[in-house]
């Protein structure tokens, strides 16, 4: 299911917080989609809540808890949630709480070097960008089934192999951040100037998020500047099918 443009801005934030709570990307995606579907139905009718992100997270979280309780088999996860609940989550629907923004943790998980580069790109677009599996498959000219399997395998690997959901420590940060920036730039290049899914816009969105989350990282700022500059030239890049040099 695609996330509508109106919701796109909330998706990464909501999903990241849910992954932080449940440490399970599949579950987080399921319940986030349910929450967005409920919102799509209710918000136009009842008006948008004061804090849309908190509303979506709370709704999705309640769904997840229901789902886990119903299954009953996930005893360890239930314990984890009980722990989380006593730690920092006591919201009800009419008391929106501020949730920690965990998008940075999520992007470092998705761009972990233990995942292949294609997987890193696809997973980042899915989790942070909210693109549907179908859109990602189309963007990379991959059959839907192949992309779907790749994403599922990646989510299972993250869970089973214990790929951390954390911002890397200082001594690892430069390398790991560079890997994240490479992925974002790959996304940008993939979408530059053709009619497929607008990956360039998605990359710029991710670039803004990185700058917002790591305001002290000049490399992140540099990447955003580069993408914005290139994007500004987008329409002027080709004249009558011929590339226009930069100095014209």
């Amino acid at each position: 299911m695609a996330v509508d443009g109106v919701f796109r801005d909330h998706w990464g934030r909501v999903l990241a917080t849910l992954v932080g709570m449940f440490r399970d990307i599949e579950l987080a995606e399921d319940v986030a989609q349910e929450a967005f579907a409920i919102a799509a139905e209710r918000w136009p009718r009842d008006g948008e809540p004061a804090n849309p992100t908190a509303w979506l997270i709370t709704t999705a979280r309640n769904r997840a808890i229901d789902q886990i309780r119903r299954q009953q088999v996930l005893t360890e996860k239930t314990r984890l949630i009980a722990h989380e609940l006593t730690q920092h989550l006591e919201p009800t629907m009419d008391q929106p709480t501020t949730f920690r923004d965990e998008r940075l943790e999520l992007i470092f998980t998705c761009c972990h070097p233990a995942l292949s580069r294609e997987t890193q790109v696809a997973l980042t677009l899915r989790t942070l960008g909210g693109l549907s599996t179908e859109e990602i498959a189309r963007a990379f000219l991959t059959p839907f089934d192949t992309m779907s399997k790749r994403l599922t395998r990646a989510k299972h690997k993250i869970r089973d192999a214990g790929i951390p959901f954390a911002v890397p420590e200082d001594h690892e940060l430069p390398d790991r951040l560079a890997a994240v920036l490479v992925i974002v730039y790959l996304v940008f290049n993939e979408g530059w100037g053709d009619g497929r899914v607008d990956l360039a816009a998605e990359a710029i969105r991710l670039g803004w998020a990185l700058v917002e989350l790591m305001p002290d990282e000049s490399e992140a700022l540099g990447l955003l500047a580069l993408m914005l500059l290139n994007d500004a030239r987008r329409d002027a890049r080709v004249r009558e099918g011929v590339f226009v040099p930069l100095d014209e």
């Binding site: 972990h112 233990a114 192999a161 214990g162 951390p164 954390a166 890397p168």
Partner: protein
């Protein structure tokens, strides 16, 4: 979580190289996070067991005969993959070639779900 570090080797290592590796590996094996470990004899010493039409069939040699073979394994306790990979990297730095494969260990009992 537990991780198995599967240590692959080639036959090309010299006795001197092996000595250096072993001197480096010994202190790692003594660390508290090491749950268990095993060093394996050469693949030529292996016997492979199969079932064929209800009968046990033995063959001389490893199941998969390749240039690179499993030389040993170390099971460690680590908080996450990054910690396990760091231990593997430390061990691999002692070795001139080949590789270490890091695999998460399943903690559930077979058949228990």
């Amino acid at each position: 979580m537990q991780y198995a570090l599967l240590i692959y080797s080639t036959e090309e290592s010299t006795p001197e190289e092996r000595r250096v590796v072993e001197a480096g590996v010994a202190p790692v094996l003594a660390r508290p996070y090491v749950t268990s470990w095993a060093r394996l004899h050469a693949p030529q010493t292996a016997t492979t067991v199969r079932q064929q039409q209800g009968e046990t069939l033995l063959t001389d040699g490893p199941f998969v005969d390749t240039k690179e073979f499993l030389g040993g394994l170390i099971v460690i306790e680590a908080d996450n993959l990054d910690v396990a990979l760091a231990v593997a990297a430390e061990l691999q730095a002692l070795r001139p070639s080949s590789a270490i494969e890091v695999r998460p260990v399943r903690d559930e009992v077979p058949g228990g779900g």
